[in-house]
Assembly symmetry: C2
Homo-oligomer: 215 residues x 2
DNA sequence: CGTCGTCTTGATCTTTCTCAACCTGTGTGG
DNA sequence: CCACACAGGTTGAGAAAGATCAAGACGACG
């Protein structure tokens, strides 16, 4: 992979995968409404999806009490269900949180597509990049709730597109309950770092936010 | 990737990467003693390593207070520092926890090696597999300390080779302090599921352990 | 045999979870 | 067009889990 290609992959979007997919995949697109599931945890992993538009959250059953814990957000330009290449069942459920435009191929077609060295490289780069960009480990030893939320907001801000997820999902990503997230946001707001509304969060004072995220 | 190749990749070891590496990489091996670092977080990502023997833990600085949080264990047969393919610096530090036998190649050589479709596939499979096999998210919403420890022990047991890591590292992986891990192990022991010594943990009653991990 | 580092155990304190009530914007049906 | 139900969000008080601090025990190693 050339240094140039590496840079292209690291860029938020359009990344190499997008380019490759655009060029190669049959344009069998499907609109999927908010709330719908793309695939379910434990289901036979038979297809791989490409998310052209919208937003999808990956959730995994927390335990047998039926609750679920979201653990990653996938935005436009992402491949979903890649575990189909190495496993027989999906590891998590993918739920649409913002109306999505998806195209998919069967595992076999994906295998075939990966005969192309360029495609294979693009996918590898994609996996390495998204894997490392995921939400950092969410546990108490990573700091207090306020610090973790501040860090998450910083990561969001640096990504450009604001994540449109509900409080419940955001809290899940951060490993806390919605109430705690709400309180943390309130603290950050009263410190003047952000502005919080029922349905929006805007960063007001970036240095201050960084400061609150720091220690 | 054929169904057969997929199965081979999913197998614990030797996986496709091992086979490929054995065949292709120049056998420039280097012994690295326990405690040494393979690479450091933030360092220029110039090489990729293959861990032939031993055990390595990946740690990431928790915050600016100097503490570090381990977030994954890599055993024999793993590739280390793959972020070199998509980034300019390493995302975490790799520290040897059991005397290791490593061989490494420069980023450029790795790029070149990846010209081989087989190699590329093996690496993709490897990344997808290890990525999904990592320790599950460690946060309170994933259950109590006892449950998380029980789950971790089950995962360990199913992997065959017992992880030889210190309590400190194990606790870090699970997102708790060593004291909490110690107490959780004591609880599991008094429930008869395991036997705990200063330097060993043996599963005694698998069904009981599963039960304690469950809800 | 003594020292050091790791592990364990106990007491206390902080944080977050839980449960409950209340608020607010949205959508529905009369 | 308005009343109403409803889901998602906020806020408060109490409980529980884990972190912290401190002391002691065990094992490795010189």
């Amino acid at each position: 992979m050339s240094s140039e290609a590496r840079k292209a992959c690291a860029a938020p979007c359009p990344c190499a995968v997008t380019v490759e997919v655009r060029r190669r995949w049959p344009s069998l697109e499907r609109h999927t409404p908010r709330g719908a599931h793309v695939y379910l945890e434990g289901e036979a992993a038979s297809r791989v999806w490409y998310l052209r538009r919208g937003c999808v959250v990956l959730v995994r059953a927390a335990s047998d009490d039926g609750r679920e814990a979201p653990h990653a957000v996938r935005r436009a330009g992402s491949l979903l269900g890649l575990e189909a290449l190495v496993r027989d069942t999906y590891l998590d459920s993918a739920r649409v949180t913002a109306d999505a435009l998806l195209c998919s191929v069967s595992r076999e077609a994906m295998d075939e597509w990966l005969q192309e060295p360029m495609a294979l490289r693009a996918v590898l780069a994609h996996v390495l990049t998204t894997g490392s960009a995921d939400v950092p480990r969410a546990c108490r030893s990573e700091g207090t709730a306020v610090e973790r939320v501040a860090r998450w907001l910083l990561a969001e801000a640096s990504q450009g597109a604001p994540t449109r997820v509900t409080r419940r999902v955001a809290a899940g990503l951060l490993g806390m309950v919605p109430e705690t997230l709400s309180r943390a946001l309130a603290r950050l707001a009263e410190a003047g770092a952000i502005e919080v509304g029922r349905s929006h969060v805007v960063v007001r004072d970036l240095p201050r936010l960084r400061e609150l995220a720091g220690g």
